[in-house]
């Protein structure tokens, strides 16, 4: 899933004839003031960060005049909203809103249909709508081949009490939004609120949009706007994470490597396989281990890629041990990986007699892998021990190497 900033999604909505408020992007208080002047009247300032519920985070402000817009922009720019620094803001005309509606398109994974949730209670989040106003909410499931019929769009709004010109506009917008959702391979498209203004215009006042990463090959036009992989982290990538992304992309055709930094921790964590990494992380925690990162690799990566990954893992401050683990591989070559791992350990100047390193990695060509690790003085296991046993051994090894470490950390904590 790749999220888009609201400025980008609104631009796309406008290009597809869906009415949105007039707006500009500003990167400084001065610019915000200028743009507010161009818009005239009251404006809304919204932090451009790829996260939801910005109102609750204080990242949406209202200004009565350009001077105030400049002042408020100064308050918002440079702050951090849900881990994301605010570098730009959206300066938007403030609509004179009479009523608020809600529209959200998603893929219903269970029913395997497109789904749209519409409500005549907009401006609040969906959890609140379903808790407080279930009768003002409708869900339509859509056959992707048949699409959304005009009459269904009219029916749903009419059932929710819309009439006249507003009913016609809202129906037209709902149909356009569905076509938009399909056209751009959206995983989510949420308009909240879909505003009805005092002069009876229906306008998409706020938008949340994410595009399927796997469909980006057919949307080159969105390359700059979509933040691919934005659901693999809950904050912007750290420098080390960026470094590993580069390592991964340098050789896109052989293997994948994903690296996420955890807060604190002292065990470098490197695991082969998506499921294996989830299992192994739990196992380490269960024995009192503290992984410093979450790293998953697979798909038979090259030696160079594995090397770059291990360098990244070992470069995080506070890492003083390394566990390499994987399920018994179906196609990833253990010998190739072993060379990359050993080279990285060597280049980092690590002595495995002093710095705990433990490997449990069986599978294709593991006889050679065993030789490579053993020759480098690294504690190696194949399938003779299970992954759980490896997790336990690693935690014990850490405790033996750094006796009393927990006590001193506890002392620091106190």
């Amino acid at each position: 899933m790749g999220r888009l900033l609201e400025s980008s999604s609104k631009q796309l909505l406008a290009q597809n004839a869906i009415p949105v408020p007039r707006s500009f992007v500003a990167a400084s208080p001065l610019e915000a003031r200028e743009k507010a002047g161009l818009l005239g009247g009251e404006v809304v300032l919204k932090a451009l960060v790829p996260v939801g519920k910005r109102g609750k985070a204080g990242a949406i402000k209202f200004a009565g005049n350009p001077a105030m817009a400049g002042e408020l922009a100064a308050q918002v720019l440079g702050t951090v909203v849900r881990h994301y620094p605010v570098e730009k803001i959206l300066v938007e005309e403030k609509l004179a809103i009479e009523r608020e509606l809600f529209v959200s398109f998603t893929i219903d994974k269970k029913l395997r249909r497109h789904a749209v949730l519409v409500s005549s209670a907009g401006g609040i989040d969906v959890e609140e709508i379903s808790a407080k106003y279930p009768e003002r909410m409708k869900i339509i499931h859509i056959d992707p081949y048949k699409g959304l019929a005009d009459f269904r769009a009219k029916e749903v709004w009419a059932d929710l009490g819309l009439e006249g010109t507003v009913l016609r506009q809202a129906s037209d917008i709902l149909l356009k939004l569905y076509r938009f959702f399909v056209k751009y391979d959206c995983t989510i498209l949420e308009i909240n609120p879909l505003a009805i203004t005092k002069d009876n215009k229906v306008i998409a006042a706020a938008s949340v949009m994410a595009v399927d990463d796997s469909a980006m090959f057919r949307h080159p036009e969105l390359a700059d706007a979509v933040q691919v992989g934005s659901d693999r982290a809950w904050r912007p990538l750290t420098d080390l994470e960026k470094q590993v992304v580069e390592v991964n992309e340098a050789d896109p055709y052989r293997g994948t490597a994903r690296y996420t930094e955890m807060d604190g921790g002292d065990i470098g964590f490197m695991c082969g396989g998506g499921g294996a990494s989830l299992m192994m992380f739990d196992a380490l925690l269960s024995y009192g281990g503290k992984p410093a990162n979450y790293t998953e690799f697979g798909g038979n990566p090259s030696e160079k890629k594995v090397y770059g990954l291990v360098i990244g893992i070992l470069s995080k401050p506070g890492v003083r041990g390394l566990v390499v683990c994987g399920n018994i591989t179906n196609n990833t070559q253990v010998d190739v990986c072993s060379r990359g791992i050993v080279a990285a350990i060597k280049d980092k100047g690590i002595d495995p007699r002093k710095f705990p390193v433990l490997v449990r990695y069986a599978g294709v060509n593991d006889a050679v892998g065993r030789e490579v690790f053993t020759a480098a003085g690294i504690e190696y296991y194949g399938e003779e021990i299970t992954m759980t046993m490896a997790a336990k051994k690693m935690v014990e090894k850490m405790k033996q190497t750094y006796p009393g470490a927990e006590d001193s950390q506890a002392a620091h904590g106190a």
Partner: protein, 299 residues
């Protein structure tokens, strides 16, 4: 016996001339699996380890009797390959391809449902039936017996790698596998654990099933419901990975694309509770699969 595939399967591989597909063809043939034909548009007349290649599935179906398709085509072409498979009346397909657009996955799963066809995957390592020496996909690699020996335990796993590791745990318990299935790591997949448990229930060879689950989806909750309804009556041993993700910010993905907790749904703790209430053996540590299997005295 076992489920889905056996020595009478008549298999066609779509995208057979690709690098990975041709390697897998070699491994499947070496294991004794009946790969009958392959399809790659523009490569009619070629052979992949003796398997004849056709331009279209229609041509392959004219020349051979086929009942199972293994799909290895690139992500952009999977939807079309599935439509081609359905148009030619093949009712079982395994989709190996990863990174299929979700909007395509919705369409292909819906069309397969409408045609009454069964889909395994996408994003799966494949299926294996060791007693029948039948395998579809990279599952087992070049050393099948290391993890997969014949026996009475069914294995269902979200993760391809953990399909092998879990089957290896079955072997460590002194038992073997009736059929092992990697169901795929995406949130939009064809056959769910519930669907497969229905097949295992009717398989005489299978006396217990082990499942490897991950965060995300409602598969385990659905399984629990199925057990409560009496749809699956054999012992079920379940391990749910990724407990730590519950304490991470919601909406963050770890591991597979489908392993994501959203809107409070998909939490491992809820899955474990539902399965326990239904009477499944939910193990805390992965290694407990071995002792739990042994305690069932299936051997």
């Amino acid at each position: 016996m076992g489920i889905l595939i056996d020595r009478n399967s008549r298999i066609v591989i779509q995208g057979i001339t690709g690098r990975e597909a041709s390697m897998v063809t070699r491994h499947m043939l070496a294991y004794g699996t009946p790969v009958v034909a392959g399809v790659t548009p523009g490569k009619k007349g070629e052979q992949v380890f003796g398997v004849p290649v056709y331009d279209t599935l229609k041509q392959a179906c004219r020349a051979h009797e086929l009942n199972t398709a293994l799909i290895y085509v690139p992500p952009a072409f999977v939807l079309d390959a599935v439509l081609e498979t359905l148009a030619n009346g093949i009712k079982l397909m395994v989709i190996i391809t990863e990174n299929i657009p979700q909007h395509d996955a919705v369409k292909l799963l819906m069309e397969a449902d409408n045609a009454g066809a069964r889909v395994i995957g996408p994003n799966t390592v494949g299926v294996i039936n060791p007693k029948e020496r039948a395998r579809l996909g990279a599952i087992g690699g070049d050393n099948v017996e290391r993890c997969f020996v014949p026996g009475c335990v069914g294995v269902i796993s979200r993760s391809g790698g953990m399909t092998a590791e879990t089957s290896y745990m079955v072997k460590r318990a002194g038992l073997g596998v009736s059929t092992a299935i990697g169901i795929g790591g995406d949130s939009l997949i064809g056959s769910t654990p519930r669907d497969l448990l229905a097949l295992f229930e009717n398989d005489r060879e299978t006396r217990a099933v082990v499942t490897f689950s991950e965060p995300g989806t409602s598969f385990e909750e659905d399984t629990a419901e199925f057990i409560m309804e009496g749809g699956f009556t054999k012992p079920l041993i379940s391990y749910i990975a990724g407990k730590f993700t519950e304490s991470m910010p919601e909406g963050t993905m770890f591991g597979h694309a489908g392993a994501i907790i959203e809107g409070g749904k998909g939490k491992p703790s809820n899955k474990a509770r539902a399965l326990r209430e239904a009477g499944a053996h939910v193990v805390e540590q992965y290694d407990d699969i071995v002792s739990t299997l042994q305690s069932l005295r299936l051997g």
